[in-house]
């Protein structure tokens, strides 16, 4: 197995800054914005994007975490059940503009599960998708609104996002 670096810490930081500016540009009424990260790695990314957008607009946004394991569509196909963790969304999502954040967009099934779960917390006005990496191979009609980097991949390759909050450093690598 060989490993190549797709993004170093500085590139990751620049990508997030650009995504934050795009979010500002596409949300002329930012009062209703909330950020929800998909655990594990989407959660710190949502926090960082919320902080960056907040710095641009001089305000604070609510940030939540989503654990989608209970909404997966492949439970019956798996040998061992997944580890489930609590979701942490302490605010009503009704009529909010949700920016859903994940680290890697692949088949789109995680996003489908996340959108199902979000509707259990209220009826948002709209949901936008922000993903640090889009590696293609979609199996569902889902597309991101904000992307840090498009990475053409083969199906068998693995893209790993490593973040300071969880892994001690910022880096995106691909394993072939």
């Amino acid at each position: 197995m060989s490993t190549a670096i797709l993004m170093d810490g500085a590139a990751l930081e620049r990508a997030l800054t650009r995504m934050a500016h795009e979010i500002v540009e596409h949300n002329p009424e930012p009062d209703s914005l909330v950020f929800i990260g998909i655990r594990t790695h989407g959660a710190p990314l949502a926090q960082r994007l919320a902080t960056k957008v907040g710095a641009i607009l001089k305000c604070e946004f609510p940030v939540g975490e989503l654990d989608i394991s209970m909404h997966r569509d492949d439970l019956a196909l798996r040998n061992a059940p997944p580890q489930v963790g609590p979701s942490n969304i302490t605010f009503d999502l009704t009529n909010r503009a949700v920016v859903l954040v994940d680290d890697v967009l692949f088949t789109g099934r995680t996003i489908r599960a996340a959108m199902d779960e979000i509707s259990d917390f209220g009826r948002p006005q709209r949901i936008q998708l922000a993903s640090l990496i889009d590696r293609g191979h979609r199996e569902l009609p889902i597309r991101p609104d904000y992307v840090g980097k498009n990475v053409p991949t083969a199906a068998g390759e693995r893209v790993r996002v490593r973040l300071t909050e969880i892994d001690g450093e910022d880096e995106v690598v691909i394993e072939r």
């Binding site: 654990d67 394991s69 209970m70 909404h71 997966r72 439970l75 019956a76 196909l77 798996r78 040998n79 061992a80 059940p81 997944p82 580890q83 489930v84 963790g85 609590p86 979701s87 942490n88 009503d92 199902d116 779960e117 509707s119 259990d120 917390f121 209220g122």
Partner: protein, 316 residues
Amino acid sequence: MTTTSWNHKDLLGIQDLTVDEINCLLDTATAFKQVGERAVKKVPSLRGKTMVNLFIEPSTRTRTSFELAAKRLSADVINITTSASSIVKGETLKDTALNLQALNTDIIVIRHSAAGAPHFLSRLLKASVINAGDGAHEHPTQALLDAFTIREKKGHIAGLNVTILGDILYSRVARSNIWLLTKLGAHVTLAGPSTLVPRVFEEFGCRVTHDIDEAIRDADVINLLRIQHERQRMTMFPSIGEYAAMFGLNKERFARTKPDAMIMHPGPINRGIEIDSEIADCGRSVILEQVTNGLAVRMAVLFLCAGGKHSPEGAE
């Protein structure tokens, strides 16, 4: 995505579980407890699965808790009670179970007066078998919800002094609790009349005493068990009044407990017998939180046992 180490299709008892498996169950329950606090208290994890509540012995709270747990996981539920089934026509447990399997049920939750009935079914069936109480043997989900409540309130279980008080001899709750708490490193004391708390229980790795005041003095957790009139075929103590006076948790005794000692009871409570009415309703009583936690724990059990294929090779 991380998977759990859980690889059982059944939950038959606490005795066979490892510490890691117990912690996995309790951690999963933490996630499911939070589902109960949402606007929509339902997740699709077991959509399309069918669960049968096969209760050959009466129960309200455990059966309701399992039924609600299954419904919150989007499973379909059928309830079978003895009086309304072919068991009264003489059908054997084996035939009842095989008929339920022929209807493609995925989970069978069984309560039976005979110890080992769930184990018998688990060998017979492809479906997940969950023990909801077998005779005086085990009641694993009750022990798990008790441990969950202690861990949530006290932050840990290892090192705590837990006193289980009352009818130990006939209690499956006591046995499951003893196995679970000793596995997790608690110091367990059993107390009650010598007829209901025989010395032989010391072999389980706990302390046995018949002096209730001594048993509750240093306890961090006091778990009161119900006096089970229906399971006592002979008189184990002279009268209910005498039991209440000698072994009931009354105000005088309560005043001598540690100020942060927590009061638990699996229910249904006999007010004025094993516990004074005011103590059952006081701030240190977690009796109703146990009920809330029971739902989360049962969701976790159903999710882990019926949520994967559990094929022998184990790995993905």
